[in-house]
């Protein structure tokens, strides 16, 4: 398989064509453009190494997310960044390349945070190895974490090593009826207390809070937070994580704003809030300029996640930063063979 990938890449370079790396295609909706001939990673699949007591799993990039999660669940472990499962064909390579994280992100960290090492094929068809299968590694620049969120524009991921964590012993979800501004204040206040909170979500005047950990700890936290216990909490978080919640299903145009957690409600459309206030999903067709302005004022940035006019939804980068990112793309993909224009009109 590796030889085949290398051949395809070298051929594309010599024919001056570009390649679009694709796993299950569950994120085809995402990104600025989908240029290039598809190179499908799914045949390069399989968990290569998994030792639960090391908290590390290594899998080929084409391994399906579902298969990987089953292997981990068998040993009571999980991907703690809770990547959205956007379809049955989702691959781990795609998950890491897109860099999406789910509800647990605010307390447990992002997809990038759990990357320990990668194998990545460059434009010469050479397979390079960065990072490793150990928890701590500062030899050389951290190229592996740079691949997370690069949307396949810096090289073809062939293998990833990820840190994994034990599944919490108990989880419990409570709901509190609160308008948006009060919910934002509450999320930030709770995050400043040492309670075992593992996710928060606000939508339609309801704040949902998930508690995870040992049973007595969860019970004590529940007593201090109050609210009403949600009977099927797990199903609710699944719907948020997998973007099957009505907010995601109902709206075709969806902006994703990554902002300071304490920012007051951004009144530009129906909103679902996650990550203790740091992630705002704003639906509808507000003026893109206003959305970008609001995100910048909130110390963050906006992306048109889905629908709408792609060119208005591109992440804004300051001129110096844009130039640096272009140089980096040029340095790592000098032939310009990988997924041009997926992340930005120029890379």
């Amino acid at each position: 398989m590796i030889e085949q990938f290398a051949d395809t890449i070298r051929r594309a370079v010599s024919d001056r064509r570009t390649l679009r790396i694709r796993g299950g295609g569950t994120k085809d909706f995402y990104g600025v453009a989908l240029d290039g001939d598809v190179i499908d990673t799914r045949a390069h699949a399989g968990v290569i190494d998994y030792e639960p007591s090391e908290l590390v799993v290594t899998a080929r990039a084409g391994t399906s997310l579902a298969d990987l999660e089953t292997v981990l669940a068998d040993k009571g472990q999980m991907l703690a960044f809770e990547p959205p499962r956007l379809g049955p064909d989702s691959t781990i390579g795609g998950v890491i390349s897109a860099g999406f994280s789910g509800p647990r992100r605010a307390t447990s960290g992002s997809a990038r945070d759990y990357v320990l090492g990668v194998k990545v094929m460059n434009g010469d068809g050479a397979e390079l190895r960065f990072g490793g299968q150990v928890m701590k590694n500062v030899a050389g620049y951290d190229m592996s974490r740079l691949m997370a969120g690069a949307c396949g524009t810096l090289g073809l991921l062939t293998e990833v090593s990820l840190k994994v964590l034990p599944v919490p012993r108990t989880e419990l979800t409570v709901r509190l009826e609160l308008p948006e501004a009060d919910a934002i204040a509450t999320m930030n206040r709770l995050a400043g207390t040492p309670l075992p909170i593992s996710a928060t979500c606000h939508h339609d005047d309801v704040l949902s809070v998930r508690l995870s950990g040992a049973e007595p700890a969860v019970a004590a936290a529940r007593a201090s937070i109050g609210g009403e216990i949600v009977a099927d909490g797990a199903a609710f978080w699944e719907s948020v994580r997998n973007q099957r919640h009505s907010h995601f299903v109902r709206h075709t145009t969806l902006w994703r704003l990554s902002v300071r957690s304490t920012v007051l409600p951004i009144d530009l459309g129906p909103t679902l809030i996650e990550w203790g206030g740091a992630l705002r999903w704003i639906a509808g067709n507000a003026d893109p300029e206003k959305i970008h302005e609001a995100a910048t004022a909130a110390g963050g940035h906006a992306t048109l996640y889905r629908g709408g006019n792609k060119t208005c939804g591109i992440q804004r980068l300051a001129p110096g930063m844009l130039a640096l990112q272009q140089r980096l793309k040029q340095a790592l993909d000098p032939h310009g063979v990988f997924g041009a224009r997926r992340l930005h009109p120029t890379f």
Binding site: A148, G192, A217
Partner: protein, 498 residues
């Protein structure tokens, strides 16, 4: 170790020392610029004190604008720049360049903003690691990564090394606890990375800069995450009569689904070395001592401590002691935290290694180290971050005894190569610096090293930032490869020999 200036040659500078000093004096106040040898001696080394070089000039800017001005001048006259925080680095990252400017960030030590509601602090690079937690304490918050050097080391240095601490198994390394950085480039341009949200636009450069050892830019501002202080922490001290059994106990704890707040191990030589200074009550007849900490709400801690103690006893612990109060908890930790200085008091010199290995290979690697210790005839106590497989063998030697330093260096190099052999890495948290530059050639192949150079080139095309550190030239690897044959085949056989 390798001399940075021998083969990693730079283009000649375009100005002499007098001209450089004249130009720097125009942008820095007199008390921020040293060029006399006697004033520069305190800067001649970092924590890797066996290596000393007096820099050409020391510049200590007071603010970001001065940093940018110094960068512009050095870039114009092609003079190398070596960033320096508190100088506690153990791999020679801040080791001066005899023809370069040492750019110290020690005067930039303000906490610029602390937002207790959003739980963030925006600080200058010269702020000491512990000072952040001290400032956050009145809000019930703290900054989690806690290197043992935290009373002295700077947050800028922590970013440059991606430093860890005894709590990073549960709370992450520096890279996991940052939100934003300001970076001054070699051209003197100011870049903002990350943001106040949890992720940033475009490529994620935060992780690339973290751990880049001052080779890509000068970090002039850092926004860190603050965490709520756990209500309670308690530690179990467990003794084992064999290193293998202690290693298995570590694996059993993790396999039981526990992520301790800290999980550390010391071997008998190490406990022997520290006990006489700290009187922590370590069982001196034990082959290994494990410290296993739980933190959280009282309910969480109670449940977790019970579970941990059970696993430790089932794994064959000969003794388990639970800290009664916080004073005793700190006492149990004191020996671990003071291990380096304690060893330093037993022997004139010690050399601290930093390899990381898959935990299941622990027994094998410790045996290998013991054999090497005999072969090189140097003592080597071991302390390690057991939970994440990060070893700190401390090679004891006396530099005044002819040959000992060379033996210690050779011993260290063999340990690192052993770590790579079992699937680990040459450095978990102390960085490559100049100390492990040759072992980079063992860890990586030509194509990976070329990729590192391509990244460097995108930030610093002339190569003026911290030259000769962290990333070896291919020439260096060819020379090193000519002496060492790694993994049965010669490294870099395709490169011309010099």
């Amino acid at each position: 170790m390798g001399k940075p200036e021998s083969i990693d040659a730079l283009l000649p500078p375009l100005a002499g020392k007098a001209e450089l000093v004249r130009r720097l004096a125009a942008v820095l106040p007199p008390e921020c610029l040293f060029d006399a040898t006697e004033d520069m001696t305190p800067y001649e080394c970092d924590g890797l004190s066996a290596w000393r070089t007096v820099p050409l000039v020391v510049a200590l800017p007071q603010n970001e604008a001065q940093v940018a001005a110094v960068m512009k001048i050095c870039n114009e006259v092609r003079v190398p720049i070596v960033p320096r925080g508190a100088g506690t680095g153990l791999s020679g990252g801040a080791q001066p360049h005899s023809g370069g400017v040492t750019l110290g960030l020690s005067k930039m030590k303000s906490i610029l903003a602390l937002d207790p509601v959003a739980r963030t602090a925006r600080v200058q690079p010269g702020v000491r690691n512990l000072a952040i937690s001290e400032a956050a304490a009145r809000h019930g918050l703290y900054y989690a990564p806690d290197p043992s050097s935290q009373i002295a080391c700077s947050i800028g240095g922590n970013v440059a090394e991606n430093s860890g601490g005894v709590h990073c198994l549960k709370y992450g390394l520096t890279v996991h606890n940052l939100l934003a950085l300001r970076l001054v480039t070699i051209e003197g341009e100011i870049l903002e990375l990350g943001g106040e949200g949890l992720d940033a636009a475009g490529y994620d450069l935060m992780a690339l800069i973290t751990g880049s050892e001052g080779l890509l830019g000068i970090v002039t501002e850092i926004t860190v995450k603050l965490l709520p202080k756990p209500q309670l922490a308690r530690v179990v001290m467990a003794a084992f009569d064999s290193l293998e059994r202690a290693g298995e106990a570590v694996a059993n704890i993790i396999a039981a689904g526990i992520i301790p707040a800290g999980l550390e191990m010391m071997d008998q030589l190490a406990t022997g070395a520290v006990e006489q200074f700290v009187h922590a009550g370590y069982p001196l007849d034990a082959a290994a001592v494990i410290l296993c900490e739980s933190d959280g709400t009282p309910e969480e801690v109670a449940a977790e401590i019970e579970h941990m103690s059970q696993v430790l006893r089932d794994s064959g612990a000969t003794e388990c002691r639970l800290s009664r109060d916080d004073a005793e908890r700190l006492l149990f930790w004191s020996g671990r935290k003071a291990a380096f200085p304690a060893v330093g008091r037993l022997m004139p010199d010690y050399y601290c290694m930093d390899g990381t290995i898959p935990k299941r290979r622990l027994g094998e690697v410790l045996k290998g180290i013991a054999a090497l210790s005999q072969q090189f005839d140097l003592k080597c106590p071991n302390v390690f971050h057991a939970g994440d497989g990060n070893l700190h063998p401390l090679i004891m030697f006396d530099a005044n005894v002819p040959g000992q330093q060379e033996r210690a260096e050779e011993f260290g190099a063999r340990i690192l190569e052993l770590c790579v052999e079992v699937g680990g890495t040459i450095t978990g948290e102390h960085g490559v610096g100049i100390e492990k530059i040759n072992q980079m050639c063992v860890q990586f192949g030509t194509a990976e090293i070329e990729t590192f150079h391509a990244v460097k080139h995108a930030f610093d095309p002339v190569g003026l930032l911290n030259p000769g550190k962290a990333i070896p030239t291919l020439q260096r690897c060819a020379e090193y490869g000519a002496m060492h044959v790694s993994r049965g085949k010669e490294a870099f056989s395709d490169l011309p020999r010099f």
